[in-house]
């Protein structure tokens, strides 16, 4: 199922994230795709707020590749970034996938630059795919396309 959302501002992108976060149960994989400056870390901040982590804690994982945060829901938010691995090789090289596998089924996982992740991850149950793009000439607008079969999102968002 595909949900088409639209955001007119960074604040709105963040609040969409917040709503998504509040619907998560604690065992989901969120795959974020979109170019530089689309708001992937921003929507992650919103999702974090929604699961009870201060958005101020969330920083870009580009340098460290992986950040881990604990939430009120007694689950962890694992924030990955494929940016630096992106062009060089697909995740076949196994730099990030073992780390993701370890967290799967236990915690909430968000992967930025998921377009570089191996396609098998896109078939994991309860995967939530989110793609952010600029829909037209308005550079402040974002089209947020959510592709998932995860019921709480489909019925409540």
């Amino acid at each position: 199922m595909i949900l088409n959302l639209n955001s007119q501002s960074p604040e709105q992108t963040k609040s969409i994230g917040n709503k998504i976060g509040s619907l998560l149960k604690g065992n989901e994989l969120i795959l974020l795709s979109g170019d530089l400056g689309m708001g992937k870390t921003l929507i992650t901040k919103g999702i974090a707020e929604g699961i009870g982590i201060s958005e101020n804690e969330i920083v870009s994982p580009t340098f460290t590749l992986q950040n881990r945060y604990s939430s009120d829901k007694k689950t962890y938010l694992c924030h990955f970034d494929m940016y630096r691995i992106g062009d060089s090789m697909t995740d076949q090289s196994g730099l990030i996938s073992p780390e993701i596998d370890e967290e799967l089924g236990e915690n909430i996982i968000i992967v930025e630059w998921a377009q570089y992740l191996h396609e098998s991850y896109f078939r994991v149950p309860d995967v939530i795919k989110i793609e952010i793009t600029i829909p037209n000439d308005n550079l402040n607008e974002r089209s947020i396309v959510i592709d998932t079969i995860f019921k709480p999102i489909l019925t409540n968002l």
Binding site: L36, T41, R84, L95
Partner: protein, 349 residues
């Protein structure tokens, strides 16, 4: 005494030998940068970084000893970067340093990478007085620390999204300029008009003095898209210069805020450190602003801005001297990837 400093936290393998005590000097600094290796990927690839450290560390150590005209038995202390950084890279340094220290019965002192950067201006400046405000700017960090003494440190501002060096790398990659982005943008600065493009100054809704750079990144890319700017055109140079000028001004503003927040009378010295402190526009702007102020500005020599072994050795010696009760022959320490800072409200880890 002779101190060897080993640094492998990120993409530079560095081994330094310094002399402390009677003399305070760097004898030699051996750095192997992995930039050429990571260049084609537009950033550091961790697994490749670890392998490259492993290849370099042994011969760099040999070369350092030869250049210093010393034998390993002459080394009185080994100082090592413990973290934060890339785990695989840190482990190469840890295993090497432990083995060397254990086999030769040399004391081993562990040093925090960020603390070592903060220490770097001390290598070439005598008499830096506390309290000190230190701005750390690099590819992975953008933070302001308040230091009451060498070993009392409080994190008072940090970036809430991208680090300043990361934003420069991403902007450079967007325009296809290569890696690392900071030096390239710095070099292009004189070719453009720094006032040609405007950037909104990020404001924190909670009134905090934390920093944010991701908005600058989006703004540069938006300008690039809107006007279809190609690299090496007049508009491109104007945009690069305006971008650099704006983030430097923003850092200045945040630094001044930090000084007034903790009551400026209490701050005696200000230092900048980390890879981005090598940026010439940044250095100029801080000199212009603080050159005549009561707060004395200190900057590391360019070679000690980026990762190096001397800053590790320098701080290692200070720890060894100031905490004699600690057991430096206990080789059981491990590395850590993420920073742990003491903050006002202990919110951050």
């Amino acid at each position: 005494m002779y101190v060897m400093g080993i640094e492998t936290s990120c993409d530079e393998t560095a081994v330094s030998i310094i002399e402390r005590g009677n003399k305070d000097r760097v004898i030699c600094e051996k750095i192997k940068s992995q930039i050429p290796i990571h260049k084609k990927y537009g950033g550091i690839v961790p697994e490749i970084a670890s392998r490259s450290h492993y290849e370099a560390i042994s011969y760099l150590t040999k070369e350092a000893l030869e250049e210093a005209n010393l034998k390993i038995e002459d080394i009185d202390l080994i100082a090592l970067t413990q973290g934060p950084g890339l785990i695989g890279s840190l482990l190469v340094g840890l295993s090497f340093a432990k083995a060397l220290a254990y086999s030769k019965k040399i004391p081993l002192v562990m040093v925090d990478h960020i603390d070592a950067h903060i220490e770097s201006p001390f290598i070439t400046n005598k008499g830096i007085e506390y309290p000190l405000l230190s701005l750390v700017v690099s590819g992975g960090h953008t933070s302001i620390f308040h230091k009451k003494s060498k070993f009392e440190s409080e994190l008072i501002s940090k970036t809430r999204d991208d680090a300043i060096g990361e934003v420069m790398d991403k902007v450079a990659k967007y325009f296809g300029l290569g890696y690392p982005g900071g030096p390239i943008i710095d070099k292009n600065y004189p070719k453009g008009d720094p006032k040609a493009y405007n950037f909104t100054i990020p404001r924190m809704s909670d009134g905090s003095n934390d920093l944010s750079f991701s908005g600058y990144k989006t703004a540069v890319i938006n300008y690039g898209k809107k006007d279809g700017i190609e690299k090496n055109t007049k508009e491109f140079y104007d945009l690069c210069a305006s971008f650099l000028n704006s983030i430097v001004k923003y850092l200045l503003k945040k630094t001044k805020n930090a000084i007034s927040e903790i009551n400026e009378k209490n701050i005696k010295s200000l230092s900048i450190a980390g890879g981005v402190s090598r940026n010439s526009r940044l250095r100029e702007a801080f000199k212009e602003e603080f050159g005549k102020s009561d707060i004395i500005l200190y900057m590391p020599e360019p070679i000690y801005c980026t990762d190096n072994g001397s800053m590790v050795a320098w701080l290692g010696y200070e720890k060894f001297k100031n905490f004699p009760e600690k057991d430096y022959f206990d080789y059981s320490s491990n590395v850590y990837s993420r920073a742990t800072f003491r903050t006002k409200n202990n919110r951050h880890r």
